[in-house]
């Protein structure tokens, strides 16, 4: 028999599935900003933020919402091989596969893109752009200079990657959108909305302000970390529900179990 906490646990499986996208005040703001930016005649847009702040899901959400209205392409997985990357670009421009045993001539590609100026506006969404080499980034910039291609680059904000961002992107006149960790209110609405989306009202009601405060403290407002923590919490609940139900209350989440999950995930060092 399935535990009542199993569906709650599955709600917090980390994914960038657009169905799991939660409209928060902060994410809505970022989305509007991004939408507004791609309308502008900008060459490159930088989506910037720490891992787990929702960059990928935001790009995916934009892609799913705008793919019918605009010529949008989403590169979810970064291509570290330059040849492979330009083959992909060739395909989206010409809408044809490159003949086997042939190579893309970059200068020819740039010339072709330049010829498309005013006719087409191709928008490419590049996720995990910190994985692209400096040389590749320079070529992407040259392609965007043709004004027929626009790139939305999503980039992790870590110490090293911050340097890359400064060197390769911030010197250009680009739009920069920064995503930040959620506030306590953001985390609360994120968790509640996620549970309510799956009609888990009882579980949502069992999560009170003190639990949110603890979850926010442990995860520092990071959505991915909050997903991980809550997944572990409900996994522990599932265990108690099956093996030792006297130890849990159904109407209120246990601080002890949240802390146990925190210990398990290394947020709390004993």
């Amino acid at each position: 028999m399935e535990s009542r906490y199993n569906p709650a646990k599955n709600v917090f499986i980390d994914s960038i599935d657009v169905e799991d996208y939660i409209n928060l005040d902060s994410s809505l703001n970022a989305y509007d900003q991004l939408l507004h930016s791609i309308e502008k005649p900008l060459k490159m847009i930088l989506l910037f933020g720490r891992p787990g702040t929702g960059k990928s899901i935001l790009l995916n959400h934009l892609y799913q919402n705008q793919k019918e209205q605009k010529e949008l392409y989403y590169f979810e997985t970064p291509t570290t091989n330059e040849k492979e990357f330009f083959q992909k670009i060739f395909k989206i421009i010409t809408k044809k596969d490159l003949p086997p045993d042939s190579q893309v001539n970059f200068s020819t590609l740039v010339d072709y893109c330049r010829s498309l100026r005013g006719e087409r506006e191709i928008i490419v969404l590049l996720d995990e752009a910190q994985m692209y080499s400096q040389e590749m980034m320079e070529r992407i910039r040259l392609l965007s200079d043709t004004r027929s291609m626009k790139f939305v680059v999503s980039l992790h904000k870590t110490e090293n990657e911050d340097l890359i961002a400064k060197e390769h992107f911030q010197s250009r006149i680009w739009e920069v959108i920064e995503l930040k960790n959620g506030t306590q209110v953001d985390i609360q609405s994120y968790i509640h909305k996620k549970l309510l989306k799956k009609s888990l009202f009882e579980v949502a009601n069992a999560i009170k302000g003190s639990h949110i405060k603890l979850i926010h403290t442990l995860t520092k407002g990071n959505y991915r970390e909050a997903n991980k923590l809550l997944f572990t919490v409900f996994e522990l609940y599932e265990y108690y529900d099956r093996n030792d139900p006297s130890k849990i209350r159904y109407d209120q989440l246990s601080i002890k179990i949240i802390e146990m999950a925190g210990i398990k995930l290394g947020y709390i060092h004993v």
Binding site: E235, L236, Y239, Y240, N243, E259, M260, I263, K264, V270
Partner: protein, 268 residues
Amino acid sequence: MYDVEGLEKEWKRYKSKQRTPWIVSAVLIALIIIAIVFRADFSAILSKYSKDNNSSIKREKIIQESIPLKPYVPTMAPKSESNHTVQKTAPLKSESNQTVQKTAPLKSSEEVNQSAEKKKVPPMTIEVSDLEAEPVREHKRKYLKIEVTDRYPAKKKQTEKPKKTTKKKKKQTIKSVEKNFSKSRSYYDSLYLARAYYKKGNYPKAQKWALVTNDLNSKLEESWLIFAKSKAKLGERREAEQILSAYIGKTNSTKAKALLRKIKKGKF
């Protein structure tokens, strides 16, 4: 699945670690509060304790002072001295014995509230002043020096002076104490005068000084007794009986009871 039991143990360890600083700080705060709240009481207890110590030290001093009187006599009258001087010192012995006899029952029968006063009225004063024919306090000091005199013969000579006391000198002492009393208004002095006049047989004056003493300190039993005795000696037995029964009603003093019995039987 996780090792939930292990996780629970880790959580308990984490909680105990988390609570430790709170417990320590709570205990410290409690101690500080206790220290602040009871500081006044502690100081009161300490001061009381120190007072008790001082009083016990004083008591010991009084005992020490009264005890060496007997062994002191031979030192005052060395073997080489003439028989005359020995004869003179003889009354000293008797006098000192008298004072010891006087004070001994006082110590045993006096009540707690009177003990403090007793300490302040050392029996020594009469004895020493009689010997030296000088004001009481000075004698007191000199007597303390006398204890050291065994090592300093020069000071022994000073103590030998009282041997030549005369009635004139006694009168002078009484006068000087009377003079001193007008300045000091001390009940030590007034009690001394009451005693001295009673001994001399000057009962009206003894009565007067006993009253003065009683005004200054109504808790001094001796002042009551001297007053009653003086009244009895002056033939005012009924008044003496009234005074004593009033005092017995107040303090239940055995000495006063004995005196009252004597007066009633006409043995006084």
